[in-house]
């Protein structure tokens, strides 16, 4: 194994990891530590926070401070970490259910406050860990064990929600687009403020099987074929409706919360002097 990879992994008897064969979450872990490596991030200064779900198992394998919190609660826990140790690079990784169902309110309020966090949403279109139920990102009509007749609900547009909540950065990528993914993760991790990366990821065991999408390879082929990079779109009107846009969809600046808080502390103390 390459040293730079080994450096960021907790290589012990828990490997091979618990994820299913062909699960995209492993690829995400793989690319994530490569991003750390390329950004030269000191692993002593990274805190990786997750909730509960298959995606939330990633931190346990990565060699930095890692925080496996309750289902849906990664973001408030991460806020506690960040406010207590503002110098840490605090990264949240979690599933579409974890962050967008039970944890949605935390996500939006953290974006509103613009706290310096990077949230990586592993969108595998369903609840993997509990065995394949509908999630806020399950597309309409798709099958899961709790939508046996096809999902009635409209899925979330994570980008729209992130933007209106106040995130300063949003990018989408997939487990097929590994170099692209690395690039947008790098960008997200260098932003100061609330940044979001949505990664489409295959769950062949459940979502793939229930919707007859084939194995991991077929699902990755689909990611390849159905996506279109934002940089290739010239006119907003020209995106075919069956395409998913990837790339950096949002990139802006806004004052970060910890910095504001620090400024407040200074102002109070100056006043008192």
């Amino acid at each position: 194994m390459k040293e730079e990879i080994k450096n960021y992994l907790r290589l012990d008897e828990r490997f091979p990891h618990i994820l299913c064969p062909g699960c995209g979450i492993g690829t995400i872990a793989n690319i994530l530590i490569r991003t750390f490596n390329e950004l030269n991030l000191d692993k002593n200064n990274i805190c990786l926070v997750s909730g509960i779900g298959c995606s939330s198992r990633i931190p346990g394998y990565i060699d930095c401070d890692t925080f496996h919190t309750l289902h849906g609660r990664a973001i408030p826990c991460a806020i506690g970490v960040k406010l207590a140790r503002p110098y840490l690079k605090v990264i949240i990784i979690g599933g579409d259910g974890d962050i967008l169902a039970i944890g949605l309110s935390h996500f939006i309020h953290a974006a509103r406050r613009n706290i310096d966090l990077t949230v990586i949403i592993v969108n595998n279109y369903n609840y993997g860990m509990t065995g394949g139920q509908v999630s806020p990102t399950t597309p309409k009509g798709k099958f899961t064990y709790t939508t046996p007749y096809g999902n009635l609900e409209e899925e979330f547009n994570i980008y729209e929600i992130s933007k209106s909540a106040g995130a300063i950065f949003f990018a989408r990528s997939t487990t097929y687009h590994v170099t692209h993914l690395k690039k947008v993760l790098k960008k997200a991790l260098t932003k100061k403020g609330f940044s979001v990366v949505e990664i489409l990821s295959q769950c062949p065991t459940l979502y793939g099987r229930l919707n007859r999408l084939g194995d991991a390879v077929k699902m990755l082929e689909e990611f390849k074929n159905r996506t279109i990079d934002i940089s290739l779109i010239k006119e907003p009107g020209e995106i075919p409706s069956d395409k998913i846009i990837i790339g950096i969809l949002l990139d802006r600046e806004r004052e970060e919360y910890c910095e504001k808080y620090e400024r407040l502390r200074k102002a109070i103390n100056e006043k008192r002097d």
Binding site: C64, D65, F67, H68, T69, P76, I79, G80, V81, R85
Partner: protein, 368 residues
């Protein structure tokens, strides 16, 4: 310096004196003044106050801050306390110290937001799922609100557990003239001496007063709410799980004597009042009225430690009692524990009230 303070203010001051630098909370009557105090004071001393979007976010932010080495707390009342239960369980399991203040009001549900009650006593013990011993202190005046807050925080860090300070609307809002100390003794957790490679998130060798490392210190720790091993990583191994859960239990079992705190008077008397918090003040009043009128002593025991339940000291104190009167503002909660703890020969009567009004001395005198 003598000051006029409310119980909530005294708690907030005590918390800061004991080292609290992080407060995340959500307003709720009758606890809100604690948050408001913290909002004013924490930024002055390098601390952080944040009002979160709800109580669930609050307890989890507290957990995150504490795991990062900032002493952390929250304050709430019944409805918010119910919402925090899952998080409290996490703090137990992951061994993250923190202080949770529950200023009780009438329940269940929205209940009686502005009236006193003592009806969350059992919930503090059994509110979260799973096996989870807990430490709960309950002050009965403003000064004690200060001191028990300090004790609660020190205990939390000594045992690496969440500790609950239980109070009630009266104790929280009542103002009294008190003299607070400039400094208090603060327990400082042993800092890790081992190298990150050797360091364990917890070690089976030291169940309390143990070495700790926080996020951001280069120890690359892993914290999890799954059953886990000494290094923090999940396990399904029965023997490891048993040791872990026994450890959670033993933290508190082994330190019972230290944690137990009772106040008592005239325990030689035939009849003894047992109470806590606001109701204990009524009990004391009743005691003095009784003694003045009847010219004989009335026993009195007040629990400052609610959990671990002080069964042994109670048993010892009540050796010669014939009758015990348990005074509490609920439908009968701690009386059940007392019943189990003391000799079956002793008659037990409960004086209970749960209509939003505090118990009067007359109600106690009527059953002696």
């Amino acid at each position: 310096m003598r000051q006029l303070l409310s119980g909530n203010e005294a708690t907030a001051i005590g918390a800061i004196k004991a080292g609290i630098r992080f407060f995340a909370g959500y307003p709720i009557t009758p606890s809100t003044e604690i948050a408001e105090y913290m909002a004013r004071e924490l930024p002055k001393i390098g601390g952080v106050f944040i009002q979160m979007e709800d109580e669930i976010a609050s307890i989890n932010a507290v957990i995150g801050a504490s795991a990062s080495g900032m002493k952390a707390m929250t304050a709430t009342s019944g409805p918010g306390f119910s919402l925090m239960q899952e998080g409290i369980g996490y703090a137990c399991m992951a061994e993250i110290p923190c202080l949770i203040v529950n200023v009780q009001r009438g329940g269940p549900a929205t209940g009686l937001p502005t009236k006193p009650s003592q009806s969350d006593v059992m919930q503090t013990r059994w509110g979260t799922h799973g096996d989870h011993p807990i430490v709960v202190f309950y002050p009965y005046n403003v000064l004690e609100s200060f001191y028990l807050t300090v004790k609660a925080i020190n205990t939390a860090y000594f045992l690496r557990v969440p500790v609950i300070l239980l109070t009630d609307e009266i104790i929280a809002h009542m103002r009294e003239a008190v003299e607070l100390p400039e400094e208090v003794e603060i327990y400082q957790p042993k800092r890790k001496k081992k190298s990150p490679e050797e360091f364990l998130y917890y070690s089976e060798e030291t169940i309390y007063d143990s070495e700790v490392a926080y996020f951001g210190e280069g120890y690359r720790i892993h914290i999890s709410g799954l059953t886990h091993r000494e290094d923090g990583f999940p396990t399904n191994k029965p023997e490891v799980i048993k040791r872990k859960l026994d450890r959670l239990k033993r933290k508190i079992e082994d330190n019972k004597e230290k944690l137990w705190d009772l106040e008592y008077q005239d325990i030689g008397a035939e009849v003894c009042l047992i109470s806590y918090g606001i109701s204990a003040r009524t009990a004391l009043e009743a005691k003095y009225i009784f003694e003045k009128e009847e010219k004989r002593a009335l026993g009195y025991i007040r629990l400052k430690t609610i959990w671990p339940f002080p069964d042994k000291p109670l048993r010892a104190l009540l050796k010669s009692a014939k009758k015990v009167i348990v005074v509490e503002m609920n439908q009968g909660q701690l009386i059940n524990e007392i019943e189990r703890a003391i000799s079956p020969e002793i008659e037990i009567i409960g004086v209970q009230r749960y209509d939003g009004e505090i118990i009067t001395p007359e109600e106690i005198l009527a059953v002696i």
